[in-house]
């Protein structure tokens, strides 16, 4: 079997006036279409792109600064956060001098209704049940007190 010769693949040829028509088309081409002008237009595009990137970056940073400033303002408004320890529970015991003011009397002799108003005035703002150790225990309204010798 013989080998095909690839050279038999003949191409299409140009028509006789192809060169003239093509040169005419070249010369009719606007000067701006040629590479020199094109390079300048590319320069313009690059300059425009750089300007846009610059302004958008500037705007972005400006916005970021504004947000940062706003955050500082809020801090100032709120003030520093301080964690305080919980208040210590109030002691039930009445200070000793007050206790000393109550003159203990024999339990049998002191009638509760006669001493209650005096004790109530002293322990008005104290806890509901006040233990006045070591000698007296009163109800919150001072109506009943019992004292131990």
């Amino acid at each position: 079997m013989s080998e095909p010769s690839f050279d038999q693949w003949t191409p299409q040829r140009p028509s006789g006036d192809f060169a003239d028509l093509t040169v005419r088309a070249m010369l009719d081409m606007p000067v701006s279409a040629r590479a020199g002008r094109k390079r300048r237009s590319w320069f313009g595009i690059i300059t425009l792109a750089a300007f846009l990137i610059g302004t958008s970056t500037w705007a972005m940073w400006g916005q970021r600064d504004a947000q940062a400033a706003k955050a500082v303002g809020m801090d100032q408004l709120i003030g520093p956060i301080v964690v305080e320890p919980p208040p210590a529970p109030k002691k039930a015991a009445v200070p000793a001098p007050e206790l000393d003011e109550i003159e203990p009397e024999p339990a049998i002799k002191v009638a509760p209704h006669r001493t209650a108003p005096k004790v109530a005035a002293e322990v008005q703002d104290e806890l509901p049940q006040i233990v006045m150790q070591p000698r007296c225990v009163c109800e919150h309204d001072g109506s009943i007190c019992s004292c131990v010798e």
């Binding site: 013989s2 690839f6 299409q12």
Partner: protein
């Protein structure tokens, strides 16, 4: 009856051609200045090259002239940037432009091709019988080439008909030289298979 393009047919550039059949630096500089005569010489010098490449890649038809002209117009636009160096061939630069344009054209639209017998041709002195045979063989080649994947056809045409080395093809298409070599081997093998029957019939 070999009628393939020879180097002399591809480059009608004398007397301003380099030994490689290319326009010399002075001629290119005149083109860059936009001198009409120089531009005409440039087109005449490379038109067969461009037509051959475009028609083999896209198939013969009226579109070939349009695409070929667009190749020259793009080259003209890019001429001010073209730097004539010892290692740069104008034909390789033009082929690179043509490859891109052909690829764009194939993506953009389906082309209506016509048999080579109906395509415009330069007058040649063959007898009507040899002419008929020539067209039949050329059609057989077109059908066989149409069977090839485009990347194989591209490498085959650049290597077989335009004398481009693997390195040059690699540069034109942007693929490794070994890949180009593999594609060329596969294209030749496939074309031999496809053409063997037709070749027996027409010889």
């Amino acid at each position: 009856m070999g009628i393939a393009l020879t180097a002399a047919e591809q480059f009608i550039c004398e007397p301003q051609a380099t030994p490689a059949g290319e326009l010399d630096a002075a001629a290119i500089e005149a083109c860059q200045r936009g001198e009409p005569l120089a531009l005409r010489r440039f087109v005449v010098c490379y038109q067969n090259l461009v037509f051959a490449f475009v028609s083999r890649m896209l198939g013969a038809g009226p579109h070939v002239e349009d695409v070929a002209q667009e190749v020259f117009l793009r080259a003209y636009r890019a001429l001010p940037r073209f730097e004539m160096r010892a290692d740069v061939r104008v034909s390789t630069w033009l082929l690179r432009i043509a490859v891109r344009l052909v690829q764009d054209t194939r993506k953009r639209r389906r082309l209506r091709t016509v048999p080579l017998a109906d395509a415009p041709a330069i007058h040649d002195p063959h007898t009507p019988e040899s002419e008929r045979r020539r067209h039949e063989i050329a059609r057989a080649f077109e059908r066989a080439a149409a069977e090839l994947p485009e990347e194989q056809r591209l490498v085959f045409i650049l290597a077989q008909f335009h004398g481009q080395s693997m390195d040059q093809i690699s540069e034109i298409i942007g693929i490794p030289a070994n890949t180009a070599k593999t594609r060329l081997f596969r294209a030749r093998t496939r074309l031999r298979e496809l053409l063997s029957e037709a070749w027996e019939e027409y010889r």
